[in-house]
Symmetry: D2
Subunit: 157 residues, 4 copies
């Protein structure tokens, strides 16, 4: 049901890394005049979600469990190491870059960056786990293979 | 499992109206220096949720369906008329006042107000419906009776 | 500094109405499985902000006061009447439609709609005021003229 | 202007650590049924903000610059290492514990924990910097001394 223009919304995947452009709105900022720190985590989650979307994951279907391998699955962040280097501002167009670093049976290690033009604003190393009712579950094999292929490409950059 | 101090967190119910005090944090504000307009809806939802909590509703249990009368139920906002009269600021202590105005089989009409001291900042008339899978459902009778009693008290104020 | 692809992010303006497509992410949903009601206000604010952007408004510059006519100005919602007709879900691609209905000296009346495909999910009538330090200010004339022209076009639809 | 009951809202400070109780509402959860990961950062920011409040910091006044030592100052997160160990749910009463670990001229290192009863849900090591227009500034001396005293107490625990 995804049209071509819906896919544009999901960013682009090239050379083993995913890039998503997004705009800073009122909702993302705080009274000190800059983007609120937790908004960067929302931006990074959008990047991860769309990256997996372009690898074939429909998050709602995955959770609601249409298929045999994937009933009730969701992705959750287990660990995250963040550096907030420079502020972002209202109206900015930002880019979220997501690269898989390593893929295990039930976990994905990703490197993420939020930038504006050539300026790096925030970086993160993230471990995401695949869970069902809070318990670790194997990542669907087709997804694992696609992530591993991207991780190999990203290492070659 | 609710301790006395947990109940304090849920505000207080007196004379047919519910009052909840809350603090404005960074997350609630935007770059223009004031509380972001949609944050007032989050504050009002906290007020409604805690009001129903003090009338005996455990929202998670209601949704997950522990009992006979209430499997899968949730409350959703159907209509809302808002007036944003004055701004709120970082560090402010606000009070959310919630009064039931009328109770139907599947809907509750509420008047809500967010104030700071004696200053009214935002007012809302809200219709909340009880739904299951998006379809209107009868409000559990014990809750309906409690709301109707409060609505009668609030009319006498 | 806005490139062509940045402008794509801001939606499109045609026949006196603005359309912005956006995706539903984890952050927009709540535990009952649908999009949280206040998230629709965030979506509508994105629509209004990008509509004004395409009419030439740089919100940060407006607030920080680069020019003669516009020092310290911001747009704030004064009144809002909302109908939440149908739920939206994780992964949905939604469209926010914004049409100016009337333009006064210091206020704009807008009709907004959030839809999915041909389904209307939420509608709103919104009055937005131009303020400086919380006090009503005249809307910059070039913006007022552009809004009035769009309102005339939208009436002809 | 803070009344006694406003101070209750700000949590309590004892033995060099700050504890803030808060409730999980609809707004904090996502469609997978648990608290959204970035909501924990909002909770931790509430803890840090109220901790500094009890040490005498009025965040709005600090930013708007009432006094000689503090014009235009704000606190921003520079680095954060997070572990999300267990999920939180709708209706939960959580506790945010904040302990200063070390205090420098322009930075504060804090350990934070969000728990439910005796269960640790999320932990974080956070470095917060004092900035003005994005540039590091010395932390006001009275605050630095109070933090250092708490850090010494917390080490003795």
């Amino acid at each position: 049901m995804n049209s071509a223009s819906d896919d544009l919304l999901a960013g682009e995947l090239r050379g083993g890394e995913h890039r998503l452009r997004l705009r800073v709105y009122y909702e993302d900022t705080d009274f000190s005049g800059v983007v609120y720190h937790a908004s960067f985590l929302r931006f990074m989650e959008r990047g991860r979600t769309d990256y997996l979307r372009l690898l074939g994951i429909d998050h709602r279907a995955l959770f609601e469990g249409g298929g045999a391998e994937s009933a009730g699955l969701a992705f959750v962040v287990r660990t995250m190491t963040l550096e907030f280097l420079k502020p972002a501002y209202m109206d900015d167009v930002l880019e979220v870059v997501t690269r898989p670093r390593e893929v295990g049976g039930a976990s994905i290690w990703l490197d993420q960056m939020v930038g504006r033009g050539h300026t790096v604003l925030t970086t993160a190393q993230v471990r995401v786990a695949c869970v069902e009712d809070g318990k670790a579950q194997r990542i669907p094999k087709t997804l694992r293979d696609a992530l591993a292929a991207d991780a190999a490409k990203a290492r070659d950059l």
